[in-house]
């Protein structure tokens, strides 16, 4: 047992010395490529490790760089989305203002065309209930709005004021069944009364009815219908709409449908007539 340890030690020493000598010899022997055998052996061992370590480092670097790039891209993407959203909002605002400018220009043109004192008002509410067709304006008695004042838009007659408040007014639009406006066909001067058809939103309810037109009256599809001024509410000559259909005779009168020229669903600004339309000249015999 005591002799085994030195023997083992000497064997270990032998192996160590042999390896050391092989290393020393290899270090001196040219491997054929300018490098010694030791260098080549070491390179063959170390190079895969270096490749592994280098590859891992490269991968880690690329991952880190990719992560950084991803974060940058993400942040940039968010910023760009915000910018796009902001620009879209601004664009919508500008488009809205442009449309508003167009509408106001049309309204101004109408205001200058109408020989009466008018007041521009903004539509702030519409059709609170389905049974009536009405609008709410932001101008009231304090602004000079009176009951039964005519309300017109750049495209045509809208309706009349049927209720007023200090700073607001309700308008009954022509589409309402209980509304009415004295009208005449511009081409043939055939007169009648224009009113809404139904008080609920049904098919075809967006058309007006031209009532009290005799069966022999000269009315054709496409005729322009204007106010006649006989109702003392609407001044004469304002466009109401265009005849869409001339139906069969029901009783004594024809059934005529008029497509309103006013775009009731898009009304935003209107003109309210402050004064009464000029009185019609009444024949003396009637008086």
């Amino acid at each position: 047992m005591a002799q085994a340890a030195p023997a083992r030690r000497s064997r270990f020493l032998l192996v160590g010395l042999i390896l050391a000598h092989l290393t020393a010899i290899s270090h001196q022997v040219d491997g054929g490529s300018g490098a010694s055998l030791l260098q080549r052996a070491l390179l063959s061992v170390v190079t895969p490790l270096q490749r592994l370590v280098g590859g891992t480092a490269f991968l880690a670097t690329e991952l880190w760089r990719g992560w950084g790039f991803h974060r940058e891209t993400y942040a940039e993407n968010r910023a760009l989305r915000e910018q796009v959203r902001s620009l879209e909002t601004e664009l919508q605002l500008r488009a809205h203002r442009a449309q508003e400018a167009v509408r106001l220009r049309e309204l101004l043109a109408l205001q200058q065309a109408v020989p009466l004192d008018t007041l521009a008002a903004q539509v702030v509410g519409r059709d609170g209930v389905p049974w009536f067709r009405s609008l709410t304006l932001d101008k009231g008695e304090a602004d000079g709005v009176k009951l039964d004042a005519a309300v017109i838009s750049a495209t045509g007659v809208v309706g009349r004021v049927f209720a007023t408040g200090p700073h607001a007014a309700r308008v009954q639009v022509l589409l309402d069944r209980d509304s009415g406006a004295a009208a005449l066909v511009e081409r043939s001067r055939v007169s009648g009364v224009v009113s809404g058809q139904v008080s609920t939103a049904e098919a075809g309810a967006e058309d007006l009815a031209l009532k009290y037109v005799s069966e022999r009256a000269d009315v054709v599809v496409g005729d322009v219908v204007v106010t006649s001024g006989l109702d003392r509410i609407f001044p004469k000559g304002l466009v109401i709409g265009r005849v869409r259909s001339v139906g069969d005779v029901t009783g004594l009168f024809r059934e005529i449908r008029v497509e309103p020229s006013a775009r009731f669903d898009r009304l935003e600004e209107v003109l309210v007539l402050k004064g009464s339309p000029p009185a019609l000249e009444t024949p003396r015999s009637v008086e």
Binding site: L13, I18, A24
Partner: protein
């Protein structure tokens, strides 16, 4: 005198002998290897570890002073031989001069063959030793070694066996 010092002195003597022989004859290594004699003697008397270390030291001295372009071939060869001889000395009874001479003969042959083999393995250009030269070298080394070991044993007076 310690083993290491004795070995160092012996190696120094081997250097001197080799140097002297190189001045007397051409290629003295073809006929006698005094370093190998020191290694075998150390291994026979002090065991495989000392023989191995002495072999390594002798080989390095030989390589550095008389060797070729690659150092370590003789050292590796001689440390192997030293270990083998030391191992054999521990296993077998190698006390007589004839037995020692035989060990020297085998060691010289093994050393020469080992150096040539290592040279070929490492692609080192080494002068080849023909079989006759190898036998001559081994025989001469055995004769000289046998006589020398006996002389030294008688003069120094220390014997392992």
């Amino acid at each position: 005198m310690s083993r290491a010092l004795w070995t160092a002195v012996a190696l120094a003597g081997a250097v001197l002998v080799e140097t002297a022989l190189s001045h007397l004859i051409v290629l003295p290594g073809r006929y006698l290897d005094p370093f190998l004699l020191v290694v075998v003697y150390c291994a026979l008397h002090f065991g495989e570890t000392h023989g191995m270390l002495a072999g390594a030291a002798a080989g390095w001295v030989q390589d550095v002073v008389f060797g070729g372009p690659v150092l370590g071939l003789s050292a590796l060869s001689k440390l192997s031989v030293g270990f083998a001889v030391g191992l054999a000395a521990g296993r077998f009874l190698i006390a007589t001069t004839a037995a020692r001479a035989l060990v020297v003969l085998l060691a010289a042959a093994a050393d020469a063959l080992l150096v040539q083999w290592l040279a070929s393995v490492f692609s080192v250009e080494a002068r080849g030793l023909p079989a006759l030269a190898l036998v001559t070298r081994a025989t001469l080394s055995a004769l000289v070694g046998g006589l020398l070991f006996a002389l030294v044993d008688r003069r120094v007076g220390h014997s392992r066996i």
